[in-house]
């Protein structure tokens, strides 16, 4: 695992907590492979997905061109970080 990817994941966790107002979470509470959506993990919903798409474009200049791949990309912090690294 690259140092860059590790830093990126920590940054993503902090940005998600701030953007999605996850009041009860600290960066250390979120594991890289925790599910972001669904009943387990962070249990985010469709409005959060919209927020993450806006965050990707605003903070990293990355557009999600293929909405069908959204579910796969936004599965966890790990998959999100991998996607950002690939697109950078």
């Amino acid at each position: 695992m690259s140092t860059l990817n590790k830093e990126l994941k920590e940054e993503l966790k902090a940005k998600l907590i701030e953007q999605l107002n996850l009041e009860d979470f600290e960066v250390s509470d979120i594991n890289d492979n925790d599910l972001l959506f669904g009943g387990e993990g962070l249990a985010l919903d469709s409005i959060d997905a919209l927020e993450i798409i806006v965050l990707l474009e605003k903070e990293y200049g990355i557009k999600l061109d293929d909405p069908k791949k959204g579910k796969e990309i936004m599965q966890s912090i790990q998959t999100l970080a991998d996607f950002i690294e690939r697109k950078r």
Binding site: E23, A43, V54, K58
Partner: protein
């Protein structure tokens, strides 16, 4: 048909939520505007929903849930909310972001939550209630208009239990704009939420009516006749005076000279639906049949509390609301 207030609650700058009438006030006067003492939101709203709600939604929803809990009612037949300025915090966040980011990529949550009807909508969503759901924004008569709609709905026999309330919020940006526009020149702005369950079931407090008057003057004889009472029938007055000498209330005070007079705005602030706080105060003094001295403006106390008349006046917007004691109510 008679209508009653089955339960009520109030979020304000004083210790009002889930409480009896405060016997003393929090003495600190805020520098800019009054803010609410926050209820323990997590008692009423799950953390996952709470994180997206601005203070006005949190206060409105918590207050509503408390009212329904007190009435032991799962779902009302209608939800009617009055709000003068709606979700100001989300609106200002959304508009500020639009300006700062040159209209690119605004935050979707602020936009979704910025509409006036978000509060009534969130209450309905939490209750899975698909019944009649309305929000009224009529400046300083927003709560009164919501109340009037609830009354008409019930008199038309379309509802037996209506959740009705008034809620507004204040933030620093809005405060700045209000002062720039020379609004509330002689008063301190505030915020709050007060909700009520209006019901056809008997309770101690009867809701006798609301009258909304737009004009420079008000004919109290005529308006009282509309309620079917005279000045002698009124036991307690609740005025919207902002300070000891508030000229907007001169005529009202003169007309009802020497009657017990309560006030509340110097302790909770001025805002669009602040009359809902007076409605809560009126409800509580009838329920409890006592008036803590701190609420009295002229130190007069009534022998009994049967009829309470509430008067609010901002510019040309006037309203009168009448509450009465239902002496044959079942024990609460």
């Amino acid at each position: 048909m008679k209508l009653y207030i089955k339960s009520s609650d109030c979020v304000s700058a004083q210790q009002s939520f889930e409480n009896s009438l405060p016997m003393e006030f929090i003495s600190d006067t805020p520098a800019l505007f009054y803010t609410c003492i926050q209820p323990e939101y997590k008692k009423f709203i799950s953390p996952n929903l709470l994180r997206r709600m601005s203070p006005i939604i949190r206060n409105g929803v918590s207050c509503s849930m408390s009212v329904l809990k007190k009435a032991a009612l799962q779902q009302p037949d209608a939800i009617i909310v009055g709000t003068a300025l709606g979700c100001l915090k989300d609106t200002t966040s959304f508009l500020t972001q639009l300006i700062q980011d040159n209209e690119n990529l605004p935050n979707p949550t602020h936009f979704i939550q910025s509409t006036h009807n978000t509060i009534a909508g969130q209450i309905a969503l939490l209750l899975s209630c698909s019944a009649y759901n309305f929000t009224f924004s009529q400046n300083h008569n927003s709560f009164e208009t919501a109340l009037l709609d609830a009354q008409l709905l019930m008199l038309d026999q379309k509802a037996n239990h209506v959740l009705v309330g008034g809620v507004d919020e204040m933030n620093e940006l809005s405060y700045g704009l209000i002062k720039e526009l020379y609004c509330y020149k002689n008063s301190k702005p505030g915020e709050g939420a007060a909700f009520f369950l209006l019901s056809t079931d008997k309770s101690k407090v009867e809701f006798k009516g609301v009258r909304i008057i737009n004009g420079s003057t008000i004919d109290f004889n005529l308006e009282l006749a509309g309620f079917g009472i005279t000045w002698q029938d009124v036991d307690v007055l609740i005025g919207g005076d902002n300070d000891v000498k508030d000229s907007a209330y001169n005529d009202f005070a003169m007309y009802f000279y020497n009657k017990p007079y309560l006030w509340y705005k110097p302790f909770v602030g001025e805002y669009g639906t602040v009359s809902a706080q007076a409605f809560w105060l009126g409800t509580k003094i009838i329920e409890e049949q006592k008036i803590p001295a701190c609420w009295s403006k002229n130190s007069l106390m009534p022998k009994e509390i049967k009829n309470v008349l509430i008067y609010n006046c901002i510019g040309n917007e006037h309203s009168l609301m009448l509450l009465g004691l239902n002496s044959d109510c079942p024990k609460m």
